[in-house]
Point group: C2
Chain length 107, copies 2
């Protein structure tokens, strides 16, 4: 699966916090780090992971580095999730109906 990296990236709470802050719009590293319980290098490392997962893009802006959410990468996860969601619900409904058809005592 291609989005294994993306899932792993979103698994860490701190990294998710960084990512959620980016959902408001583009931010520089310092801005993201400010208010977070971790140091700036830590945020930098998180951003690197997010970038390698295809979830964010970055561009230089003077001496600062601005990060932004990459809708494409985010869309891929959403697509996977939608497929999974449908499949799971279908199976669940089928199972519920099967149990009903076989009587309430099941088995």
């Amino acid at each position: 699966m291609t989005n294994a990296r993306a899932f792993a990236a979103l698994s860490d709470p701190t990294r998710r916090q960084v990512f959620e802050r980016l959902s408001d719009g583009p931010r520089a590293v310092g801005e993201l780090a400010y208010g977070l319980p971790v140091s700036r290098p830590a945020v930098s490392q998180h951003l690197k992971v997010l970038k390698e997962a295809g979830l964010v893009t970055d561009r230089a802006e003077g001496t600062r580095r601005v990060y932004q959410i990459d809708p494409h990468g985010l869309g891929q996860i959403r697509a996977w999730f939608d497929r999974f969601w449908d499949q799971a619900l279908t199976a669940f409904a089928a199972e519920a109906e099967r149990a009903e058809r076989e009587g309430h005592d099941d088995q």
Copy 2:
């Protein structure tokens, strides 16, 4: 965030494999473990995590233990994803428009 556990649960590749197998329908532990590169106790532990995350439910069936996806828990993640998706896309569009309005040379 309530679904932090759920995200952490889905972060592990093996655990995601187990979870994906459950999307086909209810399965016993042995069935799930069969064909996976890990031992049965490992699968058992993974299922425990998934259960505590509210992603699966289990019921006893004789001496076997049948696991099934819990649509409710899965729905919570999906809800989070949907909110996030909307917010990120909105911000991205706004940013794109802002860049356009300020001229192609930006800044």
